[in-house]
């Protein structure tokens, strides 16, 4: 279809603000899905089915809409990941769009996540169509929130559409606004092919499916193509569109949205943000904006049962096929055995990976406390990356340690501003900006070390604001800090799994917390076991597990022997399963418990 009748849009919405329901209505109104086939949350269900390997991802859906002007338009609805860790992926989805629908719950107002993505859309110069959804709800306050939104996107409150995706009220107006207000794409059909990869997924049967928007030129079936960043030459075995099921086509014209299957075996060769060009008539430059995915949060992942190590390795290999942002390398720990140091985009990404490993691969795992990646400058001027606190060199050889900072954005009812500021200050935050979205709601922006928010910031924020505040963050680079490594020693032996890098002012708290926790978890031994937290050779906290004084069966007569022998055999078996840290025998469960508590504090 010609450029003039093309529109590609994304929906920016907070979870539960009605994105799926609006998509359903759009599919119905455009007859993309017949009323007979319609099910609630149609596209989400396709995603679920994809997990079971049936259908490919509904990353983009093509709809045809006959507008009031009598013309038929091709409207592509492009999906955006709605997660705090995937800002880059969102930016690439938006780069494939001509405009966005800003969908806000008329009873709740805009949330931090939505705001971040809105700013991304504004930066990308996209037309924004603000929409208040759920106006049928008794609690809806469309007037109030229309003011708020109008202030953000600089429009008249009257221009904010008011709809109920549930009842269908006003949805036709959304399609009309897309046609009327969103500009058609500006690509050059005669230029060499440039297609933006905005999503890519791995399918067991087909290999990688890359979702693209053709920015310039034409993509043809069987065409020799090149992924410009990956420098990978392949042939476009199949190209097609989703309407909403996959339909192979022969060409994708300028402005069109579709998929490419080219026999690629892992997503890291068809990364989000890469540009596909023609091998025979290549473009000079790839499309701007590509970024290498950069892991921000690291954790060691270990099988609880050491025998599962090969299974874990296979699982990580498979996972990597489908997740270009995930990195891992083998490591070993005196406390936890053999495992992998894994890098994630953020905490949520880590949660997703862990959950997939446990659910899809049926593995029982233990993860070390997450840490961020540090840049360490050595005396000789060399710089090294440290992703595992154990790898931090001796403090004497270090001139400076830098840690990643993030820009944290919190949207909150104004009554909690004080609480949130306190919370951010406690975490070494630096206030950058605060402004009121409305008299009742404010947006606060802090720069904070990422390391400070990976522990319990989400939880604290939620409980401190009765769940009303929302949060988003994005990396803003490295900054030198007064960081120290705290080691935990059992009977003078460092336990690698508990080493951590923290700000100097927080070292004591960490040391005290870990030593107290371990004192309760480590069984009494035949001798006193000192548990120390230390910075280098300086001990900052100490607890002692007192030697066991009495462990003997009081009565052992004729009728007791078999039972008591079994009791001692069990004791012996238990001992065999213990990890040996120097002379100290520690049950695996003690490590797991000690680390679990940190994870509970971390989970969002």
């Amino acid at each position: 279809m010609d450029l003039k009748h093309q529109r590609a849009i994304a929906v920016i919405a907070h979870i539960d603000h009605g994105k799926s329901t609006l998509s359903d209505r759009l599919l119905q109104l455009t007859h993309t899905v017949s009323d007979r086939d319609m099910r609630a949350q149609y596209l989400d269900r396709m995603d679920l089915e994809r997990e079971r390997g049936i259908t490919i991802k509904a990353a983009a859906v093509r709809m045809e809409y006959k507008a009031d002007d009598g013309e038929t338009y091709e409207v592509n609805l492009i999906d955006t990941p709605g997660h705090v860790d995937f800002g880059y992926e969102v930016s690439r989805s938006l780069a494939a769009c001509d405009g966005v629908l800003l969908l806000v719950d008329a009873a709740q107002g805009i949330e931090a996540q939505t705001l971040t993505n809105l700013y991304l859309a504004v930066d990308a110069g996209l037309e924004i169509i603000p929409i208040l959804n759920k106006i049928d709800l008794p609690a809806a306050q469309p007037e109030k929130y229309a003011e708020e939104i109008a202030g953000l996107v600089a429009c008249d409150p009257a221009d904010v559409l008011r709809i109920s995706a549930k009842t269908g009220e006003g949805v036709e107006g959304v399609l009309e606004a897309i046609v009327a207000r969103v500009p058609s794409p500006q690509g050059d059909p005669n230029a060499p092919l440039r297609a933006l990869v905005f999503d890519s997924v791995y399918d067991t049967f087909r290999g990688v499916i890359a979702y693209v928007r053709v920015i310039d030129g034409v993509l043809k079936k069987r065409m020799p193509i090149r992924f410009m960043v990956a420098e990978k030459d392949v042939e476009a075995d199949e190209i097609g569109v989703m309407a909403p099921d996959a339909q192979p086509v022969d060409t994708l014209d300028t402005g069109e949205v579709g998929y490419v299957i080219a026999g690629i075996k892992e997503v890291s060769l068809a990364k989000v943000g890469d540009t596909i060009t023609s091998k025979d008539r290549p473009a000079d430059d790839p499309l701007p904006g590509y970024r290498e995915p950069k892991p921000m949060v690291f954790a060691g992942i270990y099988p609880i049962d050491g025998d599962d190590f090969p299974l874990l390795r296979d699982a990580l290999e498979k996972l990597k096929l489908n997740d270009a942002a995930f990195v891992y390398e083998p490591e070993s720990s005196g406390a936890l055995g053999f495992g992998f140091r894994c890098g994630f985009l953020g905490l949520l990404h880590m949660e997703i990976v862990r959950e997939r490993l446990e659910r899809e691969f049926d593995l029982s795992l233990i993860a070390t406390a997450p840490s961020v990646g540090y840049e360490v400058e050595l005396m000789d001027g060399k710089k090294i990356d440290v992703r595992n606190p154990t790898d931090l060199p001796d403090p004497g050889g270090i001139t400076e340690i830098s840690e990643p900072y993030v820009s944290v954005m919190v949207v909150t009812p104004s009554e909690y501003i004080g609480t949130i500021m306190q919370m951010c200050q406690d975490r070494r935050g630096e206030l950058k900006e605060m402004h009121y979205l409305s008299p009742e709601r404010a947006e606060i922006r802090y720069h904070m070390p990422l390391g400070e928010i990976i522990f319990d910031f989400f939880d604290q924020l939620k409980s401190g604001t009765k769940g009303y505040a929302s949060l988003d963050y994005e990396p803003v680079g490295l900054k030198p800090s007064k960081l120290v490594k705290v080691d935990v020693l059992l009977n003078q032996q460092p336990v690698d799994a508990f080493s951590t890098i923290v700000h100097r002012d927080k070292a004591y708290d960490y040391g005290k917390r870990m030593t107290e926790r371990l004192r309760k978890l480590i069984p009494r031994q035949m001798f006193d076991v000192p548990i120390q937290a230390a910075i280098g050779s300086r001990v900052i906290a100490r607890e002692t597990v007192r030697a066991k004084r009495k462990d003997v069966i009081a009565k052992c007569y004729g009728g007791d022997i078999t039972r008591k022998r079994k009791l001692l055999e069990k004791q012996k078996e238990g001992k065999k399963k213990m990890k040996q840290i120097g002379a100290v025998e520690v049950p695996q469960s003690a490590f797991i418990e000690a680390l679990k508590i940190d994870q509970e504090a971390t989970s969002t």
């Binding site: 066991k548 003997v552 069966i553 009081a554 022997i561 078999t562 004791q571 012996k572």
Partner: protein
């Protein structure tokens, strides 16, 4: 004189511990909440039938060797009349036979005995009495759920003496949540003054499935404190030692030559028959136990079916491991050369590394061919036992 005393009565480990017979009487008027023994309240109507069944059961079992020790345990054996207990003992005599100078013990609770009963027990053939004193402090007795008074317990010891019982043991329990150090000292002192020949002092153990365990897990009674129990064990050793008692096993003290031959037999991994409901026996590596419920036991004997409920045939190595687990409970320890002769030198070699580790950890000591637990090792006997199994 002391040369005439058999090793078992000095409390020494020996490969010639003799042959024992254990008879279980599974009745109590009141069950104490810490008790996990096989015993039942309110079954008085079964007493006569149980005695008949025991006698028939013993008579129907081919005799082994003459018993060098016989032990009537419970429950409360003295809930039965001395004549009834005597009838059972006659059956043992008629089948296995009873060796000259055999030690023949009956357990008794203080509230069930007086001088006349003791006379009856002596007449029936018993020569040793083991009394469940447990404590001489009223609040501790109440806490433990005992129904006798401290006075009654001391009276029982005196009555046994007056009746002419030459071997008297007093059982004590320490380290219960209701007891202080002073209480424990008071009980020990009172028992020492009553001058039994033998004292067994047990750390209170919260056994799984007992009412006490429920009280502890639900937080109504504090759990026992092993550190505190270790201290009380030391107190017992001090006071009893000063009064002339020698500790010959983890929980047992005796005047010289008054160790319990029957119990020493267990710690020497010897052979014994077990009769009655829920009794255990051991013959050359085969351990067996009988049906637990008195009613089932009576019924089995009456119908001529087996009273055995289960058995375990021990491998040579398991026997060797058990022998150390048991033998090292004895203060004087185990003679390793005799042990190697009995269980094979390979059994000893397999444990050589573990023995060395225990020695360097200060839990055991060896003097010539004998290895024994140090005082510290004694209180950590499970560490020793488990690493030698």
């Amino acid at each position: 004189m002391s040369l005439a005393i058999p090793a078992t009565r000095t409390g020494s480990w020996t490969t010639e511990a003799g042959f024992g017979v254990y008879v279980h009487i599974p009745f109590c008027t009141h069950r104490c909440h810490y008790c996990d023994f096989n015993t039942y309240e309110g079954q008085e109507a079964l007493h006569d039938a149980y005695v008949d069944a025991l006698v028939d059961g013993i008579m129907g079992t081919p005799g082994e060797r003459p018993a060098t020790s016989v032990f009537f345990g419970g429950g409360t054996p003295t809930l039965l009349r001395p004549e009834q207990l005597g009838r059972i003992l006659r059956a043992v005599e008629a089948t296995s036979g009873i060796a000259p100078a055999a030690e023949i013990t009956v357990e008794a609770n203080p509230e069930t005995v007086d001088e006349r009963i003791f006379e009856g027990l002596l007449a029936a053939g018993f020569n040793r009495v083991s009394l469940g004193v447990q404590s001489l402090v009223p609040k501790v007795l109440v806490g433990l759920g005992r129904t006798h008074s401290a006075e009654r317990a001391l009276d029982a010891i005196a009555a046994a003496r007056r009746a002419g019982v030459s071997d008297v043991n007093a059982d004590l329990i320490y380290g219960s949540p209701w007891e202080t150090d002073d209480d424990w000292i008071f009980s020990l002192q009172g028992v020492i003054d009553a001058a039994p020949d033998h004292v067994s002092a047990y750390a209170l153990t919260v056994e799984e499935g007992t009412p006490l365990a429920t009280l502890v897990t639900t937080g109504r009674v504090p759990d026992v404190d092993p550190d505190l129990q270790a201290a009380r064990h030391s107190i017992a050793s001090e006071l009893l030692g000063a009064a002339g008692y020698e500790r010959y096993e983890v929980s047992n003290w005796a005047m010289p030559g008054r160790a319990s031959a029957h119990n020493v037999l267990y710690w020497c991994a010897g052979d014994y028959l077990g009769f009655g409901a829920g009794a255990h026996g051991h013959l050359d590596g085969r351990r067996y136990w009988t049906t637990r419920l008195p009613r089932d036991f009576i019924e089995a004997v009456r119908t001529g079916s087996s009273t055995t409920a289960g058995e375990e045939v021990l491998t040579r190595d398991t026997r060797a491991g058990e022998a150390l687990m048991l033998g090292l409970r004895l203060t004087s320890g185990v003679d390793l050369s005799a042990y190697a002769v009995r269980f094979g030198s390979d059994a000893l070699e397999r444990r050589a590394a573990a023995l060395r580790d225990l020695e360097s950890a200060g839990l055991i000591e060896s003097v010539a061919e004998r290895v024994h637990m140090t005082p510290r090792g004694t209180l950590l006997g499970n560490e020793v036992g488990s690493s030698l199994l």
